[in-house]
């Protein structure tokens, strides 16, 4: 069983390292000693059955939850004690499995809020935000990055589900992150929308380091450089996609032994 791959000498310092991460909700150990090392530029998929603690892990990394134990080091700095806003300022951005936008605003205004949040202090009382090129241009760029530039003026409530999911990514991108934590970007999407999302994410690959939680195995195997399998809050394997596909323990725990020798794993549905 391969533990989190240790950095070889001469290899770049990991962008993110989590060690001994624990989080319990009452009697449920949602995160049970997670070790994670993400190299700069890699796309790491985290898979696991429902209730394996994947979203908890993202929330711990993003600072929305405080771990019971463990340490998170981002780009060489210990960020364990930092709250979510400070981590976002440091270059961590997350997306949500359940779309989390600003429904009263248009797509562009949503991106604008994200750009502005990243720009730091908002104690600017006079100049109209909506006409500020320092905000508008990066906001438009973020929309263009996810293919929503033509829908910029549309209120969020009028966007299709797939478009809202794209905007979800755009908000995270608008903060110019160095590490993107994506929580099931294809949740609730149709086949076509999922393919478009996979294309979008492969375009982002290399540009930004990504930790991807995903239930759609086709998407995972199409995108991931490496895969971590999480079961009961504990990583049981981290390896290249081909190796994970062959790993017997993984198959037993997650991919579903009942599929027999079938190469194509059963598609898990989001709860």
């Amino acid at each position: 069983m391969t533990e989190a791959r240790t950095t070889e000498p001469g290899a770049p310092r990991p962008l993110l390292r989590a060690s001994g991460l624990r989080k319990a909700f009452g009697a449920v150990q949602a995160c049970d000693g997670v070790e994670l090392e993400i190299a700069p530029g890699e796309l790491r998929a985290v898979i696991g059955p429902n209730g394996a603690g994947k979203t908890t892990l993202i929330s711990l990394l993003a600072g929305e939850l405080k771990p019971d134990a463990g340490q998170i080091v981002f780009d060489g700095a210990d960020i364990t004690a930092l709250a979510a806003p400070a981590r976002a300022q440091a270059g961590l951005a997350r997306s949500y499995q359940i779309t989390s936008l600003f429904p009263r605003f248009t797509a562009l205004e949503n991106a604008l809020l994200a750009v502005q949040a990243r720009a730091g202090h908002a104690f600017r009382f006079w100049r109209p935000a909506a006409g500020d090129p320092a905000l508008i241009e990066p906001a438009r760029a973020a929309l263009a990055r996810v293919g929503l530039e033509a829908r910029a003026e549309v209120p969020v409530a009028a966007l299709a589900h797939g478009e809202q999911r794209q905007l979800e990514i755009a908000l995270a991108l608008a903060t110019r992150p160095r590490l993107l934590l994506l929580d099931e970007p294809t949740a609730g999407m149709s086949r076509e929308e999922t393919q478009a999302m996979v294309a979008l994410l492969s375009g982002l690959k290399r540009e930004v380091t990504i930790v991807l939680i995903e239930h759609d195995m086709d998407a995972v195997f199409a995108l991931a450089d490496s895969i971590t399998v999480l079961v009961y809050g504990r990583p049981i394997a981290t390896d290249r996609p081909e190796a994970i596909r062959k790993d017997a323990e993984v198959r037993a725990a997650y991919l579903g032994e009942e599929d027999g020798g079938d190469d194509r794993p059963a598609r898990q549905e989001a709860p």
Partner: protein
Amino acid sequence: MQRSDLAALIGLLAFALFPALAWAGGLLWAVDLASRMLIYGLAALALNLILGYGGLVSFGHAAFVGAGAYVVGILSFHSFMGGGFLGLPGSGSGFLVFPLAMLVSGLLALAIGALSLKTSGLYFIMITLAFAQMIYYLFISLPDYGGEDGLSLWARSDFGPLDIGNDVVFFYLCLGLVLAFTLLKRRLVGARFGWTLMGLRDNPRRMQALGTAGFRYQLAAFTLSGAVAGLAGALLANQTEFVSPSFLSWHLSGELLVIVILGGIGTLYGPLAGAVAFLLLEFLLREVTEHWQLFLGPILILVVLYARRGLWGLVEGRRRD
């Protein structure tokens, strides 16, 4: 927005000409009522900054109105009776007591906000109410300043050449201050500060995840809101030439909430429309019956049911949400 601004401009014009019209119609006494509308409107505009744009339901804004009123009342008292308050000599100068009223109310809001904003939702409502009631009982227990009976002003504040003892001059002072704050708020909510407030109102979790530490912006808005409510309190003390603990009571906090809801939560000019409608209804219904609140209730229910963005929502017409 165009339509809304146009309606506001017409409203401003109507107010600006009101004393002349009232004089022509022999209704000069109504100028006093109009001043009261502007004062309540100013307090409601202040409340709307945090209620409408910040999504923070403060049920204790009377504390800031009352504190502002008492600053004027107490300093006026000492300027005539001698002595001082906490080493501060009395003064009747409006140029001094008005900014001081804003400062005191602002600081009070800073302190109350710093503690209250650690909570949210129902707890925020209750804690702001609790703080306001504390201030209320504090002033009731000060016999030097009239206790429960309140304190009469010897004279309206002295603004040098501007004699606000004259009701018409006082009316224009109120109008000027309301206009100034409306314009300020208009810029404020359109600037980054306002966007941040609205973002925190609509999706605080996402705002945090995007890098906004919300507390400081909400506290800044709460403080500003308190300071302007204090200014309204200073005006109210001058209008009634009287300061009483009722300015600090939860009734006033509730009335301000009702005015904002009636006028339109989160609209720029709605709170002013709400204040005009509320005080006009109160005035008219009071003529008919002493149980005027019995009739005000159903009217409010109708507005809440059929005009979700309040009276100003009707003026603005359909909007995107």
